[in-house]
Subunit: 212 residues, 8 copies
């Protein structure tokens, strides 16, 4: 089995009581529990039932580890956003990484229309195990980042934009057609999936590293 | 009337004889004549009939001015391409500019995956009246260029790419959603339209300039 | 740097407090500030905080120049709409032009189903530096205008219509396929981008003009 | 039964022999016969078998009436095209009208980018029973025509164009969204259907007219 | 000018006061006035201002003729619906026909899954000048009706259905591809346009008829 | 295991030699073998190698049973086509049914534009275990058939048509939205899948029937 | 006529009173009555009017048989769901089967990401007359199930998911392209149609079975 | 710089001579060279010019390392295909991995319709650093594989299939919506990108591993 990974709840479409019920069951089974797409009602109800659960209302996640001991996080994943509107998806990613036991940092609002703001962070970019790039509208940032780094880039299209962004389709297509070779893509707004896959990579790098 | 502009023939779907007939008529009417989307058969036939016509087999254009006197070109339009596959569309643009009496230069293969190649040309970029950016695949280049210059950028999506480029739809959407504000867009592979509009702008700038 | 241009805030998705915070910071940095896509809550809050800011509730913009001195506007940009439903997008354009220091005028409800209403304005059309055409539904107006003028036409598709307009896709496609050569296009409802690019053109024409 | 209407063969996808067989059978049954979408091989074979059949290689039709007597055509249908590339579809329409016993005339290449060429024909436009407008690319012509006439307009989108015309989808959408109220639409390149429906209308007008 | 036709207001997106203002102005100009897409707020406000205006809350129309004298309606247009959910669009059509001075009748819920219900009305179908067929979901009814009648069929796709009806796209495509030749189509839910065009046809038939 | 079912080869994209190799192997393993999407080259090569294999060049299938003994077919599946262009897909279906040991019959060219031709076959329709309806263009036939019978209807959209049929998408959507409840659908041109599923149903009915 | 089948009401878009009226009429005609897509208002109203009607608020159905005697259900249909979010559609299916007099059972949350949970139920899967598979997101379950059973599989795509599921289009396409041959598909969220068709099959199998 | 990585040529759209010219230049610069999308003409010409280059006509690649010494490959990447038609894309992936210095193995034709064939390889699956899954049609395989392994899965949709696969769009959507969390996706037929990214991951794991 997948020891060290939390159980993940996709809260969308569940009632607050139902969601809390799943959390309760995982708790009793001794498992760490992480929920995504937690809406306001669910968050309020979970807060009453599990006041020590860790809530992030920007990223709409709920994180409820068994142990309150500080954990040692491994790896080094960098999360970039093109705009500030991409923050909710980025937070879902960051919280997923934490729940998976992986170290992360974020750099926000470094879209390609202001290249100098991105280039300022070049050393940070080049020291990461994985770079996750979160972008809506033209979705051009992963193409540029892919040309600057030597590690895999996971691109996350967001539904930020209007008109011909078509709810994230425009940046998704940009990312699938990125002219940098080392760029892979996930579903629109799928911050969780990007974080989860990055964590699989970062842990694998770290584990080998440690076990040597 | 639009003095100084050539008559333009859209050769696609016309027989060689038909195309040559239109050229002949314009010739007799004393008008400069410019044809786009000239296929191999049409080009060969036009070459026999009008050997002093100027053919560009990359850009698939035919240019047949009344006067063989050297003209003074005005303005300063820069044409960039992201890849080498975008060259045919760029040539259609460049030849349109020439036919419209406007000065141009090109810089090829400066896609965003190799940012240093683009940044090397910054002074040239910043001295243009208009920058036309021709790109397929991710279509990310106009977003980056728009952040570097102070003049209008005309983005031309090309049908270069495979899979989810959908024959140019992916770069078109990227360009319509460009996060730089001064970017406008034309139809897929519409090098002619980009060149034509850029010429209208450059001539307007130059004319005022001269008439002062 | 881009002296003479205001800083622009895209208010969509920001809280009123957040939006006001950005305005505040720009104010203190001595910069003119212009916000688009300002919703009712944001507008009300900005009105309390900055009562001398200039609000346009039709165009959903907020304009807050440092100086209250009358400015000299340059250039001559004409904004047309096909229907009355296109007014909000046209206002976003007009206010952008003002904030960019460019002179503009508007003509409303001159769609192609009543050609005589358009043709009545022919002299005004033909004296502009740039014509911006705002249209939803069939999006046919820029094709007609492009055949009547000698300057660049920037077409703005709007989401006005129902059924197969698909939220602005139908007029967008019409405009990308306009049979007049000097027509370029921006994103659906992107009044700001059209205004911004037209201002770049008009200022460039005027500057040369003046500097002679 | 539908006396006075020919039997119609859709030749696409049939072998020359098969097509000729259907013609033969209709001949023996004493029926007028009209075939559309006749390709070169079919046309050549039909020419050998039925040398007095009337072929139109532009409109790709074959018309084989029982009687060679001149018929009296009724009604008055006008067929317009926006460009010259729309001619094949227009011919399919014109030949359908003839086969249905309806009088027609055509005006070619009066697209909206050159409005003066269209307006020159205003009296002809306003005297028709039905106007059929054939257009590709931006498909804007029916919207303009619908505002000039008092009779039904049948719009036929064609697959003429490139890039975002998407094989006729762009003009189809323009036509479905025409801002003139009396415009109805048929399938892309469906010259036959437009001609057939116009004939139903024109004959109905004429019949009543005559029978009074 | 188009004597005998009312002025038509497209109420969607207008405030109640604005809508009433247009009605007022038309009233004073002595013109009959017809409004479509009238929402609940507009309807309530119009009822206070113009209590003798004729409202249809199913078809969402407002009809306000100058004269209260009974008019003589001409022609004979039949409006069919496939289901009961198509009634609102059918009513918009029926009210448009009345406002245009044309006689009409309706037959509801005769979709192709219960063929016997349709066939029962065959004589009525075959005596109409025009048949308008309103259908959502599979949109199959116009194909069947087109095979049963000798007059033009105007097909109106509606947004009734779920999943792959895509808000009316499925029935629209069915109708554009109808295997009966005399079927033409309008925009999704465009009951007004179908009624308007049918009225143009019916009046033309009747006028000639009368003037003989 | 699935005794009584042949092994099925999808020949598309395989070389003739490769295809024949698979046939050979199945032969040696004592299995009946059925191939679909067999192109001309493959068919010619298979004919040399396995002259007693049963080829259908309309349905593009190859059927090679181990035993040449006449088999007893079970069940009663009816295959209808709307037009004659749908024959290739119908043949793929019919041959699949035979290879699966199921009895079938076909009725061709009974599209809804000529309802009387369909209704003539009502008793045959109502005696089938399953009706498979193959149709392109408007795809309306399954909706009508579903209202006439009491057994499951499997609808097969074909790529027959032009313009907005979009290679079979139009009839597919019609079928998915069929207003008759007992209609299920397969992929475009998927005659094999319809035949295979119908055979599963017919055999199940027959088996129980026999085993009683 | 179709004895033994209830009359079915599609409640979507009907008022509570209208819906109850139809129920009343069917009641008086002595017919069993089944309604789908019953919203909260309709359900509450039906509960007052027909307190002994059987309501399922998960599946949004109303079932009102004439007789309260226990019925003997026939056949054996299995309904699977990939996730818990697919339950509402599965319930619509299950209730349809009951109303059609067919025996059914359900297995929930056996999506392909946890294959062991599915394989645990293999004997149940292999004993069904028909398996109905309800799935959103990737829609992969029917492909897997089709490889495990010998009976027809009816696949129901649901609108569960986000981003590129496009409201159920993604699982629909997966199902239409299922690499298992015996899989047929219905509209998105069309639980009713899947249940209805499965019932037609199961009853046919059972009837023959019994009548032997 | 990126030592150890070959220079990659995208041969599509280049003439044989042009392609060979690029190879020649890289050769002289002492760099390993790898070309993808090499068509028959290019391959034949390259074979004459560089007879010791390594050609793979299934994967359409050309590999031309400087040194003929055997290299030590690192890492462990597994490439799976759902069908045999996916082989060309898989070979492009495998050859990219080799050129990047990474060890790989392939397992072919283990699609989800025959689950036992996949499950037979479970130990191999679970020992990989990265699993690349290549699949067309329903694209269901990555969802299943993602549930069986603990490493990142890179999904490659292929254009194998017909009808509603829409040239690879159907499997792409399935993969983007995979219900297994650790699945990322690349463009349709983008075997190169999948191999390149997997190599970045595998080398990173191996490097750390070795350097410990
Ligand atoms: N935001 C998300 N996007 C996609 N999948 C998710 C997300 N959050 C959770 N999941 C997946 O959904 C599964 C749980 O679904 P459920 O059993 O319905 O709570 C988990 O195993 C995750 O793999
Ligand atoms: N490549 C092109 N793309 C779009 N429009 C074009 C192109 N080349 C020519 N045109 C337009 O087509 C018109 C001539 O069309 P035609 O009369 O068919 O030769 C010219 O006036 C141009 O505006
Ligand atoms: N339901 C409708 N669908 C399409 N066009 C309409 C509709 N109702 C009115 N119109 C058109 O809209 C025009 C009036 O638009 P407006 O000036 O915005 O009120 C009229 O001349 C009609 O041709
Ligand atoms: N959920 C559903 N999806 C599709 N069709 C349905 C559904 N529920 C009922 N129907 C069909 O709709 C018909 C009744 O429609 P109506 O007369 O509008 O109530 C029935 O005969 C059913 O075949
Ligand atoms: Mg920003
Ligand atoms: Mg390059
Ligand atoms: Mg108006
Ligand atoms: Mg022309
Ligand atoms: Mg009904
Ligand atoms: Mg036929
Ligand atoms: Mg689950
Ligand atoms: Mg296989």
């Amino acid at each position: 089995d997948r020891c060290g990974y939390p159980e993940v709840i996709f809260a969308e479409g569940k009632t607050p009581e139902w969601t809390a019920g799943v959390v309760e069951r995982l708790r009793q089974a001794g498992q760490d529990c992480f929920a995504t797409r937690v809406n306001d009602d669910q968050a309020a109800y979970l807060a009453t039932r599990f006041p020590d659960g860790i809530q992030d209302r920007i990223g709409r996640t709920f994180w409820y580890p068994q142990s309150t001991e500080p954990r040692t996080l491994v790896g080094n994943v960098l999360v970039l956003t093109a705009g500030t509107g991409d923050l909710p998806v980025a937070h879902e990613t960051l919280n997923t990484l934490t729940a998976m036991g992986v170290q992360s940092q974020r750099i926000v609002d470094v879209g390609v229309a202001g290249l100098h703001r991105l280039l300022r962070h070049l050393p940070t970019l080049q020291s990461a195990d994985v770079v996750i790039v979160v972008a809506g509208m033209d979705g051009a940032l992963p193409s540029v980042v892919g040309g600057l780094v030597d590690c895999p880039v996971i691109a996350v299209p967001t539904s930020v934009g209007y008109g011909t962004t078509f709810g994230g389709v425009a940046p998704l297509l940009t990312m699938l057609n990125a002219c940098s070779a080392g760029v892979v893509t996930v579903n629109i707004d799928a911050g969780f999936k990007a974080g989860y896959t990055a964590a699989l990579i970062a842990r694998r790098v770290a584990k080998r590293n440690v076990s040597e």
